[in-house]
């Protein structure tokens, strides 16, 4: 009974199976060929998934909104006048915040000058077309790739908030690993909304290492004598991340408690992101300006 006795179809199937086994165990250095197959599949799927993505955002908003009891409608109506007054107060507060905002912009530009790292980037807005759907995939797929200057390692933002880092790029799409993906560790500093620039430059801030601990959550432990309170912001200061990501907001401290492992020595802080990163509809990307490109705006 020789090889010729084996039907060619069965032989092909066994060879295919063998190839799959080899492919499954290949070291990541030798898996570049997968992009050849992946690119057309993504190209075909992107138009359909892109169209569906806004539905996710809308549905999410609907779920997040608290339901209104019909019986309470009359009482709510009575509260409208009160709300009007509050709105007037909010308007005043808004004017204050605008003033504060302009001050922050000034401080930011001052910080950039001090560090001597002016950012030669243009911000492009990307649409999120899909999210990774297996438990080990904490990624977002965006609708621009290497043809538009997107490269591996670029930080991805949502306004002043850090979303993640570009981890893979094809011609038309890029995959972003979320900052909250399991195993991610980043260095950050704890600041108030109005931390003076000179304090930051003199190193007068509390630093910590954040561990991703859930879909939109980080945890960290710090020494008990460090001044930390709920509501403070965390900003990325991590040399493993590009310059464009430094100083971006990671989240807000939601809980400060004694560290269960060393309650007398350390405190544990729980930080939550400002938005649920997995459900973002659009993200921003600072694409470095190369020679021949002008500085663009959003």
């Amino acid at each position: 009974m020789g090889l010729s006795a084996i039907p060619s179809r069965r032989l092909t199937l066994w060879l295919l199976f063998l190839l799959l086994v080899i492919s499954a165990f290949l070291h990541h250095r030798f898996t570049g060929y997968t992009r050849l197959l992946q690119a057309p599949v993504e190209f075909a799927l992107t138009p359909a998934t892109h169209g569906l993505r806004p539905l996710v955002e809308k549905a999410r908003l609907r779920v997040d909104a608290s339901p209104v009891d019909a019986n309470e409608a009359a009482q709510l109506w009575d509260q409208v006048q009160l709300q009007k007054n509050l709105l007037l107060r909010q308007r005043v507060r808004l004017a204050e915040l605008q003033a504060e905002n302009s001050q922050l912009r000034f401080l930011r530009s001052q910080l950039e000058r001090e560090l001597g790292k002016a950012r030669a980037n243009r911000i492009v807005v990307l649409s999120v077309v899909a999210a990774g759907y297996q438990p080990a995939s904490h990624t977002l797929k965006v609708n621009m790739g290497s043809r538009r200057g997107v490269t591996v390692g670029l930080p991805v933002m949502d306004g002043p908030r850090l979303v993640g880092k570009v981890e893979r790029v094809s011609a038309m799409n890029a995959w972003v690993r979320l900052i909250t993906a399991p195993g991610v560790k980043v260095d950050a500093i704890i600041t108030d909304a109005m931390t003076p620039i000179d304090q930051l430059l003199r190193g007068q801030f509390v630093g910590c290492q954040l561990d991703a601990a859930g879909p939109d959550r980080f945890v960290s432990t710090i020494a008990k004598n460090k001044p930390v309170r709920v509501g403070q912001y965390l900003r990325l200061i991590d040399r493993n991340w590009p310059d464009a990501a430094q100083g971006l907001l990671l989240g807000r401290i939601e809980k400060v408690e004694d560290d269960p492992d060393a309650p007398l020595l350390r405190r544990r802080i729980v930080v939550e992101t400002f938005k649920s990163l997995r459900y973002l509809d659009r993200v921003d990307l600072p694409v470095p300006i190369t020679d021949g490109q002008g500085r663009g705006e959003r």
Partner: protein
């Protein structure tokens, strides 16, 4: 089976999986539980298709999942290639294993009952996930992934499967009505292949 209809349905389900699955997410502790709509389609096809066509369909679906699921996070990030690992094999082999399981089990269940489909989604999905977790755990020895824990993955994937089973039971009501579009040939009437 009408392969054109299968291709159209696969495209729609893949698009729904990628685009709409986050809408159905459940957060359990630190993990996000996402239903596997693609697995539901695979089980639906597996229930009514002859063995060879069924394995072909599961192979195609597994390959597509390998290419689109979003990749695994590598521990050692390569600046040139990034830290994401896309492999052809884990899900393809997993789905082939799932196809073999459904091939054995489908004669024991009442195929046109939605609960049968939900049950098979869980059981076949378990075969798929066991293969995937086994492969990725073996790979840990020479190409480690970021924060990979086999037990944690099995637990999360198990919850995903239970959720997928529930969704599959609901979807089965509609899918079974659409079965005539696929022109399924009854698997029982197929004559055995003689080599």
């Amino acid at each position: 089976m009408n392969w054109v209809v299968f291709a159209i349905f696969t495209y729609i389900i893949m698009a729904l999986q990628q685009g709409l699955a986050p809408m159905l997410d459940l957060q359990v502790g630190r993990e996000v539980i996402t239903p596997q709509l693609v697995l539901v389609l695979a089980v639906f096809v597996g229930l009514f298709t002859p063995r060879h066509a069924m394995l072909g369909a599961w192979f195609i679906i597994g390959l597509l999942v390998d290419l689109t699921h979003g990749g695994f996070a590598l521990q050692a990030s390569d600046p040139a290639r990034g830290g994401q690992l896309t492999l052809i094999g884990p899900y393809t082999l997993g789905y082939l294993a799932g196809g073999l399981v459904i091939g054995q089990l489908r004669s024991m269940v009442y195929r046109r009952h939605p609960v049968s489909m939900g049950f098979l989604v869980v059981v076949c999905g378990l075969a798929v996930e066991l293969v995937v977790v086994f492969i990725m755990t073996v790979r840990q020895t020479y190409d480690p992934l970021m924060s990979w824990s086999a037990w944690n993955q099995l637990a999360v994937r198990g919850l995903c499967l239970l959720y997928s089973g529930a969704i599959g039971t609901i979807l089965a009501v509609g899918l079974i009505r659409l079965a005539p579009l696929f022109h399924f040939t009854d698997a029982k009437r197929q004559t055995p292949r003689v080599y």
